[in-house]
């Protein structure tokens, strides 16, 4: 009925079939693709095997390989290319919450600060998650402890933070005065001013005044940093 096919044609058809299905195909199944007279009588399986061999060899240097698995033959992408191919399924990186960005900004500008300081300025509590994320990202670190009861950890920004934002030093951060101008823009942009978040904790009087004094100049970073009490090498107990 049909003409005999040569190994190269058989190979092409086999390749096509393996690529067109999403399941492995057995030699028997592959034999059935051919019409009467296209394969040598009694030699069908041998011919298919020979063609598979050629396909396997020719796959070298390509982005696929011929593999025999339990249920038959299939083409698959070699594992060593996974690092590139996987990027097709990369999820979009999540975005950081406003709370996290505000916490980061406060640490950068007002360092060293305790979690309590941040909470007082932001007016809401700062979740443990946020601190952990920032620490894991390597953007903040514990730089000491404030010498008050409870000895809360003081946080500061890191070199990695500067590197990420392409800043030479903390002085390269835009001065707070400039940011205050941003506020005007924000007020214009936002139709309704955001409702202040519920007050849970209120700013400490002293710190608050200090904020007011220093935020104008934006030069407080260094000054405040002078207060940093380096972490003692051994855990001190001040009982």
């Amino acid at each position: 009925m049909s003409d005999r096919l040569d190994t190269d044609q058989i190979k092409r058809i086999i390749e096509a079939a393996l690529l067109a299905t999403d399941e492995p195909l057995t030699v028997e199944r592959l034999v059935k693709l051919f019409g009467r007279g296209e394969l040598e009588v009694e030699q069908e399986r041998a011919q298919i095997r020979a063609a598979l061999k050629v396909a396997e060899t020719e796959a070298r240097g390509h982005g696929y390989e011929l593999k025999r698995v339990a249920s038959g033959y299939r083409f698959q992408v070699p594992q060593e290319l996974s690092q590139w191919v996987s990027r097709l399924w990369d999820e979009k990186p999540p975005r950081y919450s406003r709370a996290l960005l505000e916490t980061l900004a406060l640490i950068a500008y007002k360092q060293p600060v305790t979690r309590g300081d941040i909470e007082q300025v932001r007016g809401v509590s700062v979740s443990q998650n946020i601190m952990r994320t920032l620490l894991e990202r390597g953007w903040i670190r514990v730089v000491g402890q404030r010498e008050v009861p409870g000895r809360p950890a003081l946080y500061g920004s890191t070199r990695a933070f500067l590197d990420y934002f392409n800043l030479k030093s903390l002085d390269a951060l835009p001065p707070l005065a400039e940011i205050r101008e941003l506020i005007e823009t924000l007020v214009v942009v936002e139709e309704t001013p955001p409702i202040p978040e519920p007050v849970q904790l209120q700013a400490e009087k002293d710190d608050y005044v200090a904020d007011e004094q220093t935020s104008e100049e934006g030069a407080d970073v260094g000054k405040q940093r002078a207060e940093v009490v380096p972490l003692p090498t051994a855990p001190q107990t001040s009982r």
Binding site: L19, F75, Y109, P149, L182, P196, R239
Partner: protein
């Protein structure tokens, strides 16, 4: 072995014709031997034609192309008769389709009757010649009919071509960190400052309570006292709920830091506080 995978483009009548040399279709047991040669369709064959043609335009086009029907020479009497037969049939047939054929028949009848009337001298200005409109529609339909055949003949997925896929490798999960722009940080800072301003304005009347202040107060009170201070005495009723919460939090913090000790002699007895290590 070739499988008929072509779309349903051929009029069904033609396929029926293949099965038997001179029978087009059987309609209620009677053979229909011919395709229509004019607009008159025997009512009993209507169903077959409705299925065969895509609509009255299709039928008309067929008649014009194959049978050289002169659409200007349709027989009004026959059309009227057909019209009446259709009306009878509409109860049992696909109402919608029959209605479209009917409309076409009426339109042709109108054309015919207009042609029979003596035309005014200034007929050229007759803004809408119904024939021209019909011809335009027929041509437009023919064009689309051909285009549909063209699309049908294109190689397409699932029939002529197949997408090629290989098994995915085991994926390496690369979760990328969120990207942050400096501007975002600045906007966040601006938000904080702005809120802080608002706080300031509103904070004037509010009593300022802080946990760490309270911790210090309590600590000095229990240290100064010789012995125990009653737990209940540390709370100042005038400070309201907020004061109670702050004091309680301060006590919790002090206890956590082992700066104070709590003493209670028996369940539900009054609790006392003292400085730790005393």
């Amino acid at each position: 072995m070739s499988v008929d995978t072509s779309d349903d483009l051929t009029p069904r009548l033609v396929r029926i014709r293949r099965e038997s040399a001179d029978t087009l279709a059987l309609v209620e047991g009677e053979a229909v031997r011919e395709l229509p040669t004019d607009l008159y369709i025997p009512p009993d064959a209507l169903e077959v034609f409705l299925e065969t043609f895509e609509g009255p335009l299709d039928l008309l086009l067929y008649l014009i192309r194959r049978e050289n029907l002169d659409i200007l020479d349709v027989k009004v009497a026959e059309i009227t008769q057909q019209y009446m037969s259709y009306v009878d049939l509409m109860g049992v047939m696909q109402l919608e389709l029959a209605g479209e054929y009917l409309l076409m028949a009426a339109m042709l009848a109108e054309i015919k009757s207009r042609m029979l009337l003596p035309r005014p001298v200034h007929a050229e200005e007759d803004e809408n010649d119904p024939r021209a409109e019909l011809i335009r529609r027929l041509q437009e339909y023919e064009q689309i009919k051909t285009a549909a055949e063209g699309i049908s003949a294109l190689p397409r997925l699932e029939r002529d071509i197949f997408t090629a896929q290989a098994e995915k490798p085991e994926l390496v999960r690369q979760h990328s960190e969120p990207k942050v722009d400096m501007q975002e940080v600045l906007v966040a800072m601006a938000g904080v400052l702005r809120r802080a301003d608002m706080f300031e304005r509103h904070a004037v009347q509010l009593e300022v309570l802080s946990v760490s202040d309270r911790m210090q107060e309590i600590l000095s009170r229990v240290s100064d006292a010789t012995g125990f201070v009653a737990f209940a005495h540390l709370f100042i009723a005038e400070e309201g709920r907020m004061g109670v919460v702050v004091t309680f939090l301060a006590l919790m913090e002090l206890i956590r830091e082992s700066l104070v000790d709590f003493v209670q002699n028996e369940p539900f007895a009054p609790i006392y506080v003292r400085a730790a290590g005393e």
